[in-house]
Symmetry: C2
Subunit: 340 residues, 2 copies
Amino acid sequence: MTDLTNTRITLARRPQGAPVAEDFHIEQVPVPQPSEGEVLLKILHLSLDPYMRGRMSTAKSYAKPVEIGNVMEGGTVAEVVRSNHADFKPGDIVLSHSGWQSYALSDGKGLRKLDPDTAPISTALGVLGMPGFTAYAGLLTIGQPKPGETVVVAAASGAVGSVVGQIARIKGARAVGIAGGPDKCAFLREELGFDVAVDHRAPDFAEQLKAACPNGIDVYFENVGGHVFEAVFPLLNTYARVPVCGLIAHYNQDGQAQDGPDRLPGFMRQVLSRSLQIRGFIQTEFSDQRDTFLKDAAGWIADGRLRYREDVVEGLENAPQAFIGLLEGRNFGKLVVKVA
Amino acid sequence: MTDLTNTRITLARRPQGAPVAEDFHIEQVPVPQPSEGEVLLKILHLSLDPYMRGRMSTAKSYAKPVEIGNVMEGGTVAEVVRSNHADFKPGDIVLSHSGWQSYALSDGKGLRKLDPDTAPISTALGVLGMPGFTAYAGLLTIGQPKPGETVVVAAASGAVGSVVGQIARIKGARAVGIAGGPDKCAFLREELGFDVAVDHRAPDFAEQLKAACPNGIDVYFENVGGHVFEAVFPLLNTYARVPVCGLIAHYNQDGQAQDGPDRLPGFMRQVLSRSLQIRGFIQTEFSDQRDTFLKDAAGWIADGRLRYREDVVEGLENAPQAFIGLLEGRNFGKLVVKVA
């Protein structure tokens, strides 16, 4: 084991706008040895998620940025290959937060054992993992869709959006998905059962969205911002709820000032006149719901009401390009890197 | 009775920016006779409230605008002077929504009898009326202040803000009031028991507010917008709640586009990264809490924990100037016009 090489991807520099390959550094280092109480993990799958763009920036966020030269953060599914920890033995499959590398040490904190017989292990990074739980908690706790209401979600073929729309349907609401391109829109309608899918790249996107929501919008699950939000906002009904989960269209702006006019006063005026609720959240806030989520989601997957699609990229060295593509909407489904 | 004259103030034209005297028309018309099932009301007190600016405008709002030539809307306390309605007799004192006039007809719908022995009748327009209830429902249902948390409210010597701060204190929170000028600030501290009062006209207002909130802000009761909100926003803690009750600083903009930069993307980014809740409301949404409010508020007034100040203007003909002054913060306490 001591001769193994750990491939790891570190943050080479902070991106200016959209990340480029040169913002990442790929390096080979010896695999470290686990001390007493530690395990050595071999990373099998790495999750790529939009929040990682925030970690590359020093703009104020809910988490500390990755330091230059440090391994990029990320959720992973790994196999225990050496163990000096009483709770783990070689061969155990665990969910960990080991980042963009092929091997990692852990003292066991935060590891969760996975049972490969109940679901494909990569789903612990997607539909049964952080993205699925984000959709579940944000939609049900903040969005609170009622039967017959209209729920709109963007990036709807992605890891979070696809679960939002399907749970909205399970709860009796009408699900309108927004995605980029006809293939994704067809997938939403035909595979995931969305009532309507609207292509945000269409020149008449705003009109199409309005036509898709004849009774207005009661819940908008916000994970993109940008021109999608602009089209959604006028359609929000009185008492509409907007769980704010992500703003991928703005991540490459790093919080810089934007050209006017200043839309904030008009926004607040509408918040007031339509009694809107805008609520940012991070799924960790709702961690007491995680067991209920896992039970519900597993049941829905088993009875065919909750489906998922993974976009699997082979090889850790391809993670930077895949991540750059994620921010541009080039993935189709939950983006996972097969590391080993 | 048939010879009486009804003085009424109508909307002469829609204001361009801040209302001016010429936007109102004062006219004398004969007092109408009540038909079967109607009462004739003599208006004693007229409430002046910031929301009325919205009714003068066609900008989208939660209520229809007053038509040109129609009587300005408003809450009133009135005496029944003739009655063809079984439920009311001459001499009854009622809360009504009769608008800016000295007499009005009513079919009894929406009238609420007041008992002059339990509280001064004008309080039905203020601390025990719509403004008090707005403060109560917005603060407790949306703001949900916890003991030790910091609650900030602007226009804090006004009808709504003064109640917000005092209820925050009753619930064990720290109350920081924002008002215009040293007299109002002294009143907040010395008469209403606010922990701190900050003058928003001070050149170092933002620094003073920051110093007044060493643990940040957990609840900001928004009723002004503008530069006050700009100073508040950076101080909002993770999970802060912002009940949006009014935006008086923007009412004279009538929803027109504002110069850049565009602060909306940065605002949404902070909503996300700090898990903020922004929630517009109108008190009518919470009308099932009105009885509880009246009981709570009467108790707090009786035991001295809830105080109020009225700014009484004599004569209906002075209502336009008083209302113009209200939008500029020239009132000191709940603004009421003594009509008769």
